[in-house]
Amino acid sequence: MTHATATLDQMRPPVPAEPGLPIYNNKLGMWVFLASEVMFFTGLIGAYVILRFGAPGEWAKPNVVLNVPLTGINTFILICSSVSMVKAFAAISAGDRKGLSRWLLATILLGATFVSVQGVEYWKLVHEGFTPAGFTAGSHITELVAQGKLSDVTGGLYGSTFFTMTGFHGFHVTCGVICLIYVWLKSLRGGYTQQDYRGVEVIGLYWHFVDLVWIILFTIVYLI
């Protein structure tokens, strides 16, 4: 299975131009947009780093507040959705329109599962007393504090950074799922062909990026 160069050139706009980058505008635009997203998450992660390094007390250890095994499985689900996305791309670049729709649907379901698991996780955490503002008094979390398993001096920071970083990532995944649904519906109508599958490649790039950010975030937030 090879990527046909002809299809790539046919996806370029039919306007004479000085050679720029050998990729079509939509793809270049998405890569440029992803560069800005790198900077957005850098700001959030930078904030986390400075707050954690300068924290006035001990930071929570992994798996005390957050459920690492469950999130590990969730990470795996997101990675699988990345695989299904790239399989969708491979399908349409080989001309398999039915395969495209099937793999897109798989990606949507896996992505939606990821967001749902995160949503449930959030609900449970808030229920247990772990909120963006910190630890709620009289909750299960404060029992952990009393048992010495958790310092409540850094509780507020822990909550602030956790919910903001994972929340914005989850927001990006949700936007990705919505766009994927649009692409999937269009694929059902035959909107993508082996000659022109730009939309699939472009949403694919976004989706892989979202997975990539999660790979970094999972390590930094849950494991360290």
């Binding site: 039919p14 306007v15 131009a17 050679p19 800005s36 930078g46 300068g54």
Partner: protein, 588 residues
């Protein structure tokens, strides 16, 4: 294939069947979007000036009722006397309006949108609908920011730099809804900027006309390209910071709350990591336009085109590693501070290269001091002053004395007003015929320039002296300090000069509005400029060219020896010109 044709920029259709709304309101034409940005940002420029006049009233006539102040609410200015709570809103919103909604959209939203496709020979931007979204998002952001004056408890009030914890704690600042409005507006503006930047970058990389190689692009386009990269990568950090601030205000998070372990220095690092590239966003497009205009007004090629390009790229790169010079007095790590001092001094070098090149361009040139040229030369002169004060402040020991004083205010106004705004007056006058098909009035333009130059210097030069004397920024009543009482006559003088400066701008407003309706009809190339945009009729039609032009030379071929005319358009073919290398043909 239909999606391909729909999304790609189109050649002009002879029969333009767009409705009025499609043509002028929800337009995807980059020229109309540029003009929409022009009207929006000129409005905010005016509003920012109105705020400045109120600030100057308080400083020049402290505690006295302001003429017209009766319309202000009693909680802000009882009997027209400005209260400190209102004063700090004025100071904050003057900065916010001017930086985010006047200068930035004027330089980038207007000129990047209007000029880039025209100057590189494209039908339109790479993503016309995203371009439209970028304008309307900016419009929404502006509306939210303006509305923040009218919400309960008034507008945000921690300075345009919005330092925490003052900005994060409504109990400290007094502003709650207003602060939330500020954060939301900034996030929206960031989004508008990012959408615009990705359009400009993609268009410049992929949609240049055949023969328009990188080193045949006008310097205005180079500057806009680097500016777009700066905006793309800096605005997301600001958005992140504004979101964290919003969460501190609304969700009870503790990012900037020292009591719960948060750090105020975090805000400063985030803000200035964005903020320094931002100030280069605010000057680079002006530098680019000035380069084009000075070459034109000197009838000479720009001196040192390649070094200009490297200087632009150098400024763009170095601008990322100097942000700490805004934080010398913040208590940050001193080693970090020293590093920033060194990098800040280094960044003066590429700017100096540009200044010498502008002077080299003018040297022995056939100088035509048309209004844009006057403003462009004024830019260079004022920018040198502002830049020199910047190098001075780069030295940490000196900055310790003058940080947060009027010396800084003088510096920033020399580069933003003396720099960017003069460049804008030059650019608006220069490309007015392209936008509207009419010329702006030349005598009024000249009078406006000279009066602005005079009053501008009378307002801002004394501020250097005030700053050295210890007159701090954003202060409501300097006379509360013994050592500043003696400087009050200077404040008074500055205020009177500021009123004169503001009044002078009505000349520009009058010129602009009158010329829109009654201006002299412009010939196709009134400035005898080489740029591709001047090969089109005024105003340029939808889709620009029927067929994309071919480019045979650089943009500054003025006064070519042996030539019949002192200018040579980029797309005119001479017998000796070679066709550009054909684009690689698709495989099979």
């Amino acid at each position: 294939m239909s999606s391909l044709a729909a999304a790609a920029p189109r050649a002009p259709t002879h029969h333009d069947d767009r409705t009025f709304v499609q043509k002028y309101i929800f337009s995807t034409d980059h020229k109309i979007i540029g003009i929409q940005f022009l009207f929006l940002s000129l409005l905010f420029l005016f509003l920012g000036g109105v705020l400045a006049m109120q600030i100057r009233w308080q400083l020049g006539f402290p505690g006295q009722p302001m003429p017209g102040g009766g319309i202000l609410p009693e909680t802000m200015a009882p009997g027209g006397v400005i209260l400190p709570e209102y004063y700090i809103q004025l100071v904050t919103m003057h900065g916010t309006f001017m930086v985010f909604f006047a200068i930035m959209p004027l330089l980038v939203g207007v000129f990047a949108n209007f000029l880039i496709p025209l100057k590189i020979g494209a039908h339109d931007m790479a993503f016309p609908r995203i371009n439209m979204a970028s304008f309307w998002t900016a419009f929404l952001a502006g509306a939210v920011m303006f509305a923040s004056f009218f919400v309960p408890n008034g507008a945000a009030r921690a300075g345009w730099t919005m330092y925490a914890p003052l900005s994060a704690r409504p109990d400290l600042s007094g502003a709650d809804y207003g602060q939330i409005c500020w954060c939301i507006s900034i996030v929206l503006l960031g989004l508008s900027s990012i959408l615009g930047s990705l359009n400009y970058i993609t268009t410049i990389i992929n949609l240049r006309a055949p023969g328009m190689t990188w080193f045949r692009m006008p310097l205005s386009v180079w500057c806009l390209f680097v500016t777009a990269i700066l905006g793309l990568l800096a605005l997301p950090v600001l958005s992140g910071a504004a979101i964290m601030l919003l969460f501190d205000q609304t969700l009870g998070t503790h990012f900037f709350d020292p009591g719960a372990g948060g750090q105020v220095l975090l805000w400063q690092h985030l803000f200035w990591f964005f903020g320094h590239p931002e100030v280069y966003i605010l000057i680079l497009p002006g530098m680019g336009m000035v380069s084009d205009i000075i070459a034109n007004g000197s009838r000479k090629p720009i001196f040192g085109y390649h070094s200009m390009v490297f200087a632009i790229v150098g400024i763009g790169f170095l601008g990322w590693i100097v942000w700490g010079h805004h934080m010398f007095m913040s208590g940050m790590n001193p080693t970090l501070g020293s590093t920033f001092m060194v990098t800040t001094m280094i960044i003066a070098v590429p700017s100096a290269i540009k200044v010498f090149n502008w002077m080299g361009t003018m040297w022995r040139g056939n100088l035509h001091f048309h209004v844009p040229m006057l403003n462009a030369v004024g830019f260079v002169a004022m920018f040198v002053i502002g830049g020199l004060s910047g190098v001075f402040m780069a030295a940490t020991p000196i900055d310790m004395h003058i940080h947060d004083t009027y010396f800084i205010v003088a510096h920033l106004h020399y580069v933003l007003f003396g720099g960017s705004l003069f460049a804008l007056f030059a650019g608006i006058t220069y490309w007015f015929p392209k936008m509207f098909g009419k010329m702006m009035n030349e005598p009024i333009g000249k009078i406006h320039f000279w009066l602005t130059m005079l009053f501008f210097n009378l307002v801002f030069f004394p501020m250097h002296i005030l700053g050295m004397a210890g007159h701090m920024r954003r202060i409501y009543d300097p006379t509360q300090y013994e050592w500043l009482k003696g400087y009050q006559p200077m404040n008074h003088f500055i205020t009177l000069a500021a009123f004169a400066l503001f009044a002078t701008q009505f000349l520009f407003i009058w010129n602009f509005v009158w010329s829109l309706f009654k201006g002299r009809k412009a010939e196709q190339n009134p400035w005898r400029d080489n740029g591709l945009e001047w090969t089109l009729p005024n105003p340029a039609p939808h889709g620009n060219w029927e067929k994309v032009p071919t480019v045979y030379r650089g943009p500054y071929e003025y006064s070519l020896p042996g030539a019949p005319d002192d200018w040579y358009p980029q797309s005119s073919k001479l017998p000796n010109d070679r066709e550009p290398a054909p684009a690689p043909a698709p495989a099979h």
